[in-house]
């Protein structure tokens, strides 16, 4: 048995899991992972398997399927789910797609991606784009799953018990420390939202890093990276202040790609409240 560093393809696995092994293949693949806390040595590893949703594990392309579906399974299903149910990417099982109101726009999105949203482009030619776009349109006929929670009550949890607005913005109101959640229901599936509430480190926005910098005069500054180049770093502290520093002027500089500043809501909310909050977030379909 060989354990390989496989976190890259393991969206369903905790991010503090370092060694994973995939059992089985494409459909219904299961990964056995050994979670590792960064502070622990490899010997102290606690063993706890985690399963990976089928869409996360493989990139399949069965020859007996029509070209459009094959292309979908190869290029799209990893983030959007096998039948467009969504994942770290939005559900495509909706009659109208936000970034692609018509087929031409859909082809442009598939070709060029949505860089600001973390979606990569493809290198498909026109004929392939056409067939793939057609398949994606078919997914829109799938009925979306009905969620258990009460979105109205979820909105109240968001404001009060959850204190989400301290770090997140909705339609212009709230903190800028965490990602803006305006329209998050359109860009993340309910399962992904739930997982992020329970285990914030399970998945990160593209380019996420938690920064710790010590200035020459001994001040320690921490925050979430806004941007970085070879010579400088910009990051936002929890209180909202934006720091911009030259690396050459720092005494210490660390970045952590696996640590989320967001607390887990596993203990903070009852299962019912969690359902309500997920239903509320999932209802946030566009800016209001």
């Amino acid at each position: 048995m060989k354990w390989v560093n496989f976190r890259a393809s393991m969206d369903g696995c905790r991010k503090d899991t370092v060694f994973c092994r995939i059992v089985g293949t494409v459909q219904g693949a299961v990964a056995t992972c050994r979670p590792v806390k960064r502070s622990l040595s490899e010997r102290q590893v606690a063993t706890a398997p985690c399963t990976v949703p089928a869409y996360a594990a493989g990139a399949q392309s069965p020859v007996d399927k029509p070209l459009g579906e094959r292309l979908y399974l190869t290029h799209c299903a990893f983030c959007h789910g096998q039948i467009g149910e969504g994942g770290r990417g939005p559900t495509l099982a909706r009659p109208k797609l936000i970034h692609a109101p018509d087929d031409e726009a859909l082809k442009v999105v598939i070709r060029g991606g949505i860089p600001s949203g973390g979606m990569p482009g493809t290198r498909l030619v026109d004929a392939e784009l056409r067939e793939l776009a057609e398949h994606v349109r078919k997914l829109g006929r799938v009925q979306p799953a009905v969620l258990a929670g009460d979105p109205k009550h979820g909105a109240e949890i968001y404001r009060t018990k959850g204190d989400c607005a301290a770090c997140h913005t909705l339609s212009g109101n709230g903190g800028a420390f965490g990602p803006d959640l305006t329209g998050v229901g359109a860009s993340r599936s309910p399962q992904h939202l739930r997982e992020s509430l329970l285990d914030p480190a399970a998945d990160f926005p593209r380019g996420f890093a938690f920064i710790r910098a010590v200035s020459r005069d001994g001040r320690t500054l921490t925050g979430v990276r806004v941007n970085e180049d070879t010579f400088s770093i910009q990051f936002r502290a929890a209180a909202g202040k934006l720091h911009s520093l030259w690396k050459a002027e720092l005494r210490e500089y660390q970045k952590d790609l696996a640590k989320s500043p967001m607390p887990s809501y596993r203990e903070k909310l009852t299962p019912g409240e969690l359902d309500d909050l997920v239903a509320y977030l999932a209802s946030l379909q566009e800016a209001k």
């Binding site: 890259a8 290198r123 498909l124 030619v125 070879t230």
Partner: protein, 527 residues
């Protein structure tokens, strides 16, 4: 007397018209104020003897002028500079002549590109060639065009290959003697690669070397069945030339399909090779294959750097080659004999290189249904961006992409004009890829120093007699390091990705350094 007058008239005419005769390019080192060919000289050193800008004053380097292009694709040009004019290409396949004094355009050649030309990695262009009184450009729709250097008017335009079969051209041509040598791209689409020579006067094709041998030709037996027909092995980065040996040296790309070796059993010659061709006939003199039976997209489309040096007590004509596959090679360029290979950065595709230069592959890095972790990823450690060799420091400088990927095998079938790959890649999201600028000792491959960069670079290098090496980053920094220590001496935030090669030239007594960044061509001098 009549004869003398005639000769004089001929001489005057030739000076007025033949701006860049072959002899001038062959001896490019004698006029460091100009940049006459893609890689600076035929040995591809990208080193300049100019030293007005040096360690002591580089901190005062300022923008002299800028020129902005209209294209939205990557601006990958290496300008040519001579006789008061700079010639750049801007994507997809346009050419602009710029006045060196003011930065103002003198003429444009704008090409209409048909809809739907498939280019895996952008409709880009890396520069022109100059010969005589003409400027030559390869186009994304696979034509070679000769332009009047004075006006930009088309002298002739020939189809090199059919873009509908996914043949495209992105490299700068190479001008030698009376010929223009051009390479082709398209190995992500199952094309069959070649290298061509054209007559500068007429545009007539003089020879073609197929980089995938046909039936009956030596090397065809390294392809199972009919797989050679989609063999790839394209020639999409400009090569080097040794005038004394009259040999062209050119890197070749991946076999097709990129990631699925099961449909093309064998070594797949001449993919992932450097080939040495007789410049007059296009006949193969020798080849060396870096990555036989490649399944990781290890295109060997890097720049062969030619160096005459003392190898273990004997003066020899050498070739230095920092390959995309993470190994640094030294070959004898007369015979192709393998002399040395050493790993210059992280890789897991090979367990090592044997005494004959053949890698021992690691099957675990081959794309699989479960996903295979591979270092480097399919952009390689080195790529098209140029290295630089400084005779002054005797160091070989190379920008390196430090990045892996996870490769999932998917089914593949060939259809003309469509991608022919066999795997999809996913990024490793839990580690940040980065870049390094590495200074290697040319005869051992040992690391002299390195400079870390935030992201894997797409920028080539320039070293100068001012003891400076110039490079750029994906975050828009253009910078100069000390060639001997790697210490940072100067930097400038250009505001756009640096996706090109820097050059330097001198005009009216002042040295300039230029770089394409974002959609700007930026020229610097000491203010």
């Amino acid at each position: 007397m009549k004869l003398f007058a005639l000769l004089l008239a001929l001489l005057v005419a030739s000076v007025a018209q033949a701006q860049v005769p072959y002899e001038r390019i062959r001896q490019a080192d004698r006029e460091p104020e100009n940049w006459l060919t893609y890689s600076g000289n035929y040995s591809s050193h990208r080193y300049s003897q100019l030293k007005q800008i040096d360690r002591t004053n580089v901190s005062r380097l300022k923008v002299a002028w800028m020129y902005q292009i209209r294209g939205r694709q990557h601006f990958e040009t290496t300008p040519l500079v001579f006789d008061g004019v700079m010639y750049i290409t801007d994507p997809p396949s346009d050419v602009t002549a710029l006045d060196l004094r003011t930065g103002r355009p003198l003429w444009h050649y704008r090409r209409s590109i048909p809809q739907g030309v498939p280019a895996c990695c952008g409709q880009v262009n890396r520069g022109v060639a100059a010969l005589g009184d003409q400027i030559f450009v390869n186009t994304i729709d696979a034509h070679l065009v000769a332009l009047d250097a004075r006006t930009g008017r088309v002298r002739w335009d020939v189809e090199v290959a059919d873009w509908k079969l996914a043949y495209t051209m992105t490299a700068a041509p190479l001008a030698i003697k009376d010929k223009i040598i051009v390479g082709i791209a398209g190995a992500e689409y199952g094309v069959r690669g070649f290298l061509d020579a054209y007559d500068t006067k007429t545009g007539r094709r003089l020879w073609r070397f197929w980089t995938v041998p046909g039936p009956g030709e030596p090397g065809n037996e390294t392809w199972s069945g009919d797989s050679w027909k989609q063999g790839g092995a394209t020639t999409w980065v400009t090569g080097s030339y040794d005038p004394e040996l009259n040999l062209l040296y050119w890197g070749t790309g991946n076999p097709g399909p990129d990631y699925d070796g099961s449909v093309r059993l064998g070594d797949n010659l001449y993919s992932d090779c450097v080939i040495a061709l007789d410049a007059d006939t296009g006949r193969l003199k020798w080849h060396f294959q870096f990555t036989p039976h490649d399944v990781n997209d290890m295109d060997s489309n890097q720049i062969p750097v030619l160096l005459d040096a003392n190898w273990k007590g004997t003066p020899r004509k050498l070739m230095l080659f920092a390959n995309r596959n993470a190994f640094y090679y030294i070959l004898d360029r007369v015979t192709g004999e393998f002399l040395h290979a050493s790993q210059f950065t992280r890789q897991n595709w090979a367990k090592g290189i044997d005494a004959r230069g053949r890698p021992i592959p690691n099957p675990e890095s081959a794309p699989s249904e479960k996903g295979a972790l591979a270092y480097p990823d399919d952009d390689g450690t080195a790529n098209w961006f140029s290295p630089s060799y400084s005779p002054r420091t005797n160091l070989f400088y190379q920008n390196v992409r430090e990045k892996g990927g996870v490769f999932f095998k998917v089914s593949v079938e060939f259809q003309p004009g469509r991608l022919y790959l066999g795997a999809v890649k996913r990024d490793i999201t839990t580690e940040e890829p980065f870049g390094t600028l590495r200074a290697l000792r040319p005869l051992t491959g040992e690391l002299a120093w390195k400079f870390d960069m935030q992201s894997p670079p797409w920028c080539g290098l320039l070293s100068t007699a001012g003891d400076l090496v110039f490079s750029g980053t994906m975050e828009g920094d253009f910078f100069a390091l000390d060639t001997t220590s790697g210490k940072l001496l100067w930097r400038f935030q250009t505001g756009g990705e640096v996706w090109s090669n820097p050059i330097t030239y001198q005009f009216e007594g002042r040295q300039y350094v230029s770089i394409a960044a974002g959609s700007s061509l930026i020229v610097f001098s000491i203010g």
